[in-house]
């Protein structure tokens, strides 16, 4: 187990070894002591042996309210799984759209699709705008969700009414 710990410290352990080590560190005082000594050795070799505040911090934290925020951070594996599933869903969606669009692609070898009855287009009718609506829209523009669009886009609706409606 200590050799696994040693490798884990050097980013050289397998994922399952790291998981086992991290779990064992909680309950194994000898393994925790090894964690401390191995890090001390590395720091000493790099010329740094101070400060040693772990014990004092531990004593102070014992008096602190226990932090409990279990969903603040996603474990790396779960995050990777979530990304993989999102990617898979995206690929599946694109494949489905592509498959559905296949019949729409003209293929000269295939017989032409049956004619679809064309409905008459409804006539365009100018809807009179109540007086003052334009002013109302401009005054309340900032509440519009379309503000997420930059530039003049949010104002397009407000300025397209006919002059006669003013």
């Amino acid at each position: 187990m200590k050799q696994r710990l040693s490798a884990m410290m050097d980013d050289a352990a397998q994922d399952h070894e790291c998981e086992i080590c991290v779990k064992r560190l909680k309950d194994d005082p000898e393994l925790r002591a090894a964690w401390g000594v191995y890090h001390l050795i590395g720091d000493a070799l790099r010329g740094h042996t101070a400060p040693d505040v772990a014990e004092r911090v531990q004593q102070r934290l014992a008096a602190e309210p226990t932090v409990f925020a279990p969903h603040a951070i996603e474990p790396p594996r779960r995050r990777a799984t979530r990304y993989a599933l999102s990617m898979a869903a995206s690929v599946a969606a694109v494949a489905l759209v592509g498959w559905m669009a296949l019949p729409l692609i003209d293929d000269p070898r295939e017989s032409p699709p049956p004619a679809i009855a064309k409905l008459p287009e409804p006539p365009l009718v100018a809807v009179p705008v109540a007086q003052g609506v334009g002013d109302y829209l401009l005054a309340h523009q900032r509440f519009s969700p379309s503000l997420a669009i930059g530039g003049i886009a949010p104002y397009i609706r407000s300025v397209t009414e006919e002059n006669g409606a003013r």
Partner: protein, 199 residues
């Protein structure tokens, strides 16, 4: 698993109420944080106090850590802010030119947390540890010494060390572990003695 992922695992456990997991992070980063704080604070005893304060603040702020950055990056920022606030509270200027208002300085918990600055014991203990590690390194067989030097001092990966030493990665892993254990065996009596002295 990368070092960052090991930290994330420990942070996730700490956020779920496991204080020991946070203790492991303190053990891992205490000296690295200390080196950073020593750039602002000269007195070793004060560096210890500020480091302690920074870790406590980091623990309290754990719910706000989302894992978007590495844990040490996040801790680094807390350490810097804690050092600056400490200097302001002590009426000293921080060495950087970025101004920060003394009114904004957080209250620094001093009083009973600060020790007498004249504490040579910790300095002596550090020198003893450094000398013991150095002597243990000299007593190591060449292959073990080379492997651990390439790892700890040069920062090479196991793959790179395996290429240099012309041996399998498993052999590198074994040599580094055996080197650590050999040095630890000589350090442990010293560390146990230090613990006894405190009582």
């Amino acid at each position: 698993m990368a070092d960052r992922e090991v930290d994330q695992q420990l942070v996730a456990r700490a956020q779920a109420g496991d204080k020991q997991a946070f203790d492991l992070l303190v053990t891992k980063y205490q000296r690295k944080l200390g080196r950073l704080l020593a750039r602002f604070i000269r007195d070793p005893a004060e560096v210890e106090d500020v480091a302690q304060e920074a870790f406590v603040k980091a623990y309290r702020a754990l719910p706000s850590f989302r894992g978007d950055s590495a844990f040490y990056t996040w801790l680094y920022r807390i350490g810097i802010n804690t050092a600056k606030n400490y200097l302001v509270a002590m009426g000293r200027r921080a060495p950087t030119t970025t101004g920060f208002d003394s009114d904004e300085a957080e209250g620094f918990e001093d009083g009973d947390q600060l020790r007498d600055i004249n504490t040579p014991e910790s300095v002596l203990a550090s020198k003893e540890i450094a000398a013991t590690v150095q002597k243990a390194m000299e007593d190591l067989p060449d292959d073990l010494r080379t492997a651990i030097e390439l790892r700890e001092i040069e920062g090479l990966s196991y793959e790179e060390i395996a290429n240099i030493m012309n041996c399998p990665i498993g052999t590198v892993r074994s040599r580094i572990f055996r080197a650590r254990e050999a040095i630890a065996a000589k350090l442990r009596p010293l560390l146990d003695t230090r613990k006894d002295r405190r009582w």
